[in-house]
Symmetry: C2
Subunit: 248 residues, 2 copies
C-alpha cells in the first residue's frame, strides 16, 4: 500500500508499522524534510509520485507502507478506563480520517469499524487523519453490536450518539424506543467507555442503538439541525474528557 503526503509518510516512519515501511519516493524538494534525513529516498518527479500513489494530493512524497496493521477488537478492551470510538457504517474516508485524528488527539485507546459497508483505512484515510492512523489502533470487527456486547462483558459502558432530530421535528420524527439524554449528563468515569457514532445520513442502526447502554445527544439549536459526524465526534470526545477531568 502506497501512502502519500507529508504527515502520513512521516507518521508511518515513526508509527506502529514503521518496520514495514519499504521504499520512499520524494521530489528533491520534499526529500529535504528532517524526518527523511537517515532514510534512503528515491528522488523522482512529481508525476512519478502521482503515478505511484494515484492521487494528486501527495505533496511530493509517498512510501510503500505495507498493509495496514489492524488491531483485534478485544485488544482494545484492556487498560485502565480506556475510551474507545466505534463507528457504525461511516462511509466517507474524509470523515473516518478526521475522526481518527480527533480520537488520537483526545487520547482515545482505539477505534472500531465494521468489516462491511464502512470505509477502511486506505491511503486517503491516512491522509485525512494527518497520519494519526499510524498511532491509534484501529480494529475491524464483523459486527458492531456484537463488539458492544463483548465490551459490556469487559465492564465497559457504551454511549450511542443519537441521530439529530430531523429538521423542524419535535414530534413528527419517527417514534423512538428511547429518548437520548443530554451528552453532559452521564458520568463517564469509573469504567471504560465506548462512544458509538452512526453513519452520516442515517445515524445508528436500531440493533446497534439497542446494544448501547445509553443514547446521548448534543444540543442543536439552529435551523440546519445536523452536525457533521466528525464535528459530533470532536464535541463528544472532548465532552467526555472534560467530564473525566472534572471528576477526577
Amino acid at each position: 500500500v502506497i501512502v502519500y503526503g507529508r504527515n502520513p509518510v512521516r507518521e508511518a516512519l515513526r508509527g506502529m508499522r514503521s518496520e514495514r515501511v519499504g521504499e520512499v519516493w520524494a521530489t528533491s524538494r520534499a526529500a529535504r524534510e528532517d524526518f527523511l534525513a537517515r532514510r534512503e529516498v528515491h528522488i523522482v518527479g512529481a508525476d512519478e509520485i502521482e503515478r505511484r500513489c494515484g492521487s494528486p494530493a501527495h505533496q511530493g512524497i509517498c512510501a510503500d507502507a505495507g498493509s495496514y496493521p489492524y488491531a483485534h477488537g478485544s485488544e482494545l478492551l484492556r487498560g485502565e478506563e480506556p475510551l474507545i470510538v466505534a463507528l457504525d457504517q461511516v462511509q466517507d474516508p474524509q470523515n473516518l480520517g478526521s475522526i481518527v485524528r480527533t480520537a488520537e488527539c483526545a487520547g482515545a485507546a482505539g477505534l472500531v469499524i465494521a468489516e462491511r459497508r464502512a470505509a477502511e483505512v486506505t491511503p486517503a484515510v491516512c491522509k485525512a487523519s494527518a497520519g494519526a492512523v499510524e498511532h491509534l489502533p484501529v480494529a475491524r470487527v464483523r459486527n458492531i453490536a456484537d463488539f458492544l456486547g463483548e465490551a459490556r462483558r469487559a465492564g465497559f459502558w457504551s454511549y450511542g450518539a443519537a441521530a439529530p432530530a430531523p429538521a423542524g421535528a419535535d414530534g413528527n420524527g419517527r417514534p423512538k424506543e428511547r429518548a437520548p439524554i443530554p451528552y453532559d449528563q452521564p458520568e463517564y468515569r469509573g469504567a471504560g467507555v465506548v462512544l458509538v457514532l452512526g453513519s452520516e445520513g442515517a445515524g445508528l442502526r436500531p440493533r446497534v442503538a439497542g446494544a448501547c447502554d445509553e443514547l446521548i445527544a448534543l444540543p442543536v439549536r439552529g435551523r440546519v439541525q445536523s452536525l457533521n459526524v466528525g464535528a459530533a465526534a470532536a464535541a463528544l470526545l472532548y465532552g467526555i474528557l472534560q467530564d473525566r477531568g472534572r471528576r477526577s
Copy 2:
C-alpha cells in the same frame, strides 16, 4: 451565483436570501423533492446542471441564489450574550463550511472572516456547510484584530484558540508571550463571547492573538498533537455551550 446540492438549495430557498433565489434547475428525479413542490423548476439533465454549477457534486440540483448577503461585523455585536466565531485566515473551503455548519448548530450568532487571505462564501462552502450559511450571518471584516477591538468596546470577551504545541514539544517550541489556559477554565457566561480560530497550519497570527483577552487550548494527548480546525471549533463551541448551560 449558482449554488448546488440538495441541502444548499433547500436552505437557500428558506434562508436569509430566499427572496434573491431565481431559477432552479433539477433532474426529473431531484425535482420530486418536497421543498420544490411549489416552485417552478427547469427539468434538465445532470450534464447541464454540472455545466451550470461547475461541480460534479450537485446531486441533481442547482439554483441561481444571487450573491451571498454578507452581514456587517457590527451587526453581530448585538443581542444577549451572543457567541460569535472569528476565523483568522482559514483558507480551506471545506473547513470554513464545516465550521459554519457547527456554529449554526451550536446556536452561534454569527461568524466573522477577513476580506483577504481567507476563504469566502463560495458555492463549495455552501455545500460543505450543508446550507447552514443561509441561516448563520457571516460578516467579512477588513481586519480581525480591529474587529476584536470593536467587540471589546461592545463588552465582549475574546478567546483565541492557541495553536497546538508542535509535535514532541514541551519546551522546544517558540517562546510564547502568554501561555494558553485550559479551555474549560474560563467562565463564558455573563458577556458576549468571540471564539477566535486560526489558520490550518500556523494558528493565530501574533497581532490577532494579542487582541484576544485570553488564549485557550484544548488538551492534546496523542502523538500527532494537532487537531483539524473544524474539530477544534466543534470541541470549543460545545465546551462553551456546556459551560454556559452549567452555570445558568
